[in-house]
């Protein structure tokens, strides 16, 4: 126990910095992932077949290959092909975003399609165009409905960000690796490392609950 406490103290500064790095990786990648997700969700519900196919290829490729492979392609692969040389952080954000985007696209598609089609018809019968009705009526409802699944994806993204360590990201897990290599206290170091992730997930889950409650007060269930 003493050892654990001692290691907690000696690693505190390093882990705190790394935790901030993890938060940033997660935040930016998921923000970008949401943007990608919206675009591909629209591809999937559009009436143009080409867009469906593009979305299907993207989603199939992302879901069918390991994230670590995707990270390496973007960081090492693009540089080797002389396409673009990215910093580890940028490559990490990009890879995580492209990865999460595929899942988020499916989340958004599902929640858009789950909105009663009477909503679109009512909006259109009032003279709203399809894009206006989408933006003002369908998407706000779909977004609220997607929050639980989106929250889940966020938690997965937070933990997935550890893989950015492999391309030199200075996030939580990378820091645990270097720390343990120094102090030879694998158990304590990784245990504490795990606690940092756990605390981040718990804080995030709590914030999500508050958000859901707040939206729920405004709009209870499906009541129309």
């Amino acid at each position: 126990m003493d050892v654990l406490l001692e290691i907690f103290q000696t690693t505190f500064v390093g882990f705190s910095k790394a935790a901030w790095q993890t938060i940033q990786l997660t935040f930016w990648s998921l923000l970008l992932g949401i943007g990608i997700g919206i675009i591909f969700a629209f591809f999937k519900i559009s009436k143009y077949k080409v867009l469906h196919i593009i979305a299907d290829i993207y989603i199939t490729f992302i879901r069918g290959t390991p994230l670590i492979v995707q990270i390496f392609i973007i960081y090492f692969g693009l540089a080797q092909m002389n396409i673009v040389t990215l910093e580890d952080f940028t490559a990490g954000v990009l890879a995580l975003a492209i990865h999460a985007g595929a899942y988020i696209a499916e989340i958004f598609r599902g929640s858009i399609q789950s909105i009663d089609k009477g909503q679109m018809e009512a909006a259109q019968s009032l003279g709203m165009t399809y894009p206006l009705a989408m933006r003002r009526i369908i998407l706000p409802q779909a977004f609220r409905r997607s929050i639980p699944a989106l929250g889940n994806q966020f938690i997965i993204g937070l933990k997935d960000s550890s893989l950015v360590a492999f391309i030199g990201g200075k996030e939580l897990w990378a820091t645990a690796m270097t720390t343990a290599a120094d102090n030879f206290r694998q158990f304590e170091t990784f245990f504490i490392n795990g606690l940092y992730y756990l605390v981040l997930v718990i804080i995030f889950t709590y914030l999500l609950k508050i958000l859901e409650k707040k939206l729920d007060v405004e709009q209870r269930g499906e009541a129309t």
Partner: protein, 240 residues
């Protein structure tokens, strides 16, 4: 106001509308009756272009509407629709529901739209419900709010598709009262309903639909007291 000529509509191989002709003049109230599946809803939805006809002509205010070339959103501004299941926007308050289209479609200043919306809410008896969300309303209140929302666009004609069918019996009256007031004010209305007393009292014309056609139309008195077609007689004997 509305003229329909030889309207046909199929879903796949199921021909639902088999040549409908109808002329509705300004301030007319037309009540459409007919058995389930006879195509009443489909016909109303065609008038609002939620379904596009396969064949035939629809004139609204003497303008032939060609779904391929006429901007349908502009047409729909003139044709209000009230649905069986209300379809209020659940993420908006009653007031926000009503001002949404006037502000976003007609670009009316928000303040002015709100003033108008409050007047409409008063008219349908919901003045004190302006700032609540739809979930907290009863069915009858929801339907009255939906009527107010539709009226806010100042439609030339209002379509009602079984506006009271989803309501508890004790809530039907309050919605019908609002509709009656509208009719008295001279609103042009096409109403699908099973409320025969409403048809008798309010309709100028009652049209009986059967298997995708209007087979009989006339003043309520004639249709209810002296129907000419055997199928009309048979239908009326069943609903009475």
């Amino acid at each position: 106001m509305i003229r329909v000529k030889n309207l046909h509509k199929s879903f796949g191989s199921n021909e639902v509308l088999k040549g409908i002709d109808l002329e509705v003049h300004e301030s007319d109230v037309v009540v459409l009756i007919g058995a389930s599946g006879s195509g009443k809803s489909t016909f109303l939805r065609c008038l609002n272009f939620l379904e596009i006809e396969d064949e035939g002509e629809i004139y609204i205010e003497d303008q032939l509407i060609q779904p391929k070339s006429t901007p349908l959103n502009k047409v729909r501004e003139k044709v209000g629709m009230v649905f069986q299941h209300f379809h209020l926007f659940p993420h908006k308050t009653v007031l926000e529901n009503i001002i949404e289209a006037p502000v976003k479609v007609k670009k009316i200043p928000k303040k002015q739209a709100e003033t108008e919306a409050l007047a409409l809410l008063k008219k349908v008896g919901l003045a004190e419900k302006a700032n609540v969300y739809p979930y907290s309303l009863s069915g009858g209140q929801k339907q009255r709010a939906a009527i107010a929302r539709s009226l806010a666009m100042h439609p030339k004609v209002m379509l009602f598709d079984e506006p009271t069918s989803a309501l508890d019996p004790e809530l039907v009256g309050e919605v019908l009262t609002v509709m009656k007031t509208l009719a008295q004010e001279g609103m042009t209305m096409i109403v699908v309903t099973h409320e025969m007393s409403f048809a008798r009292e309010v309709a100028d014309w009652v049209a009986f639909m059967d298997q995708g056609k209007i087979i009989e139309i006339g003043p309520p008195q004639q249709i209810f007291e002296d129907p000419q077609e055997a199928r009309t007689k048979e239908f009326l004997s069943r609903v009475r």
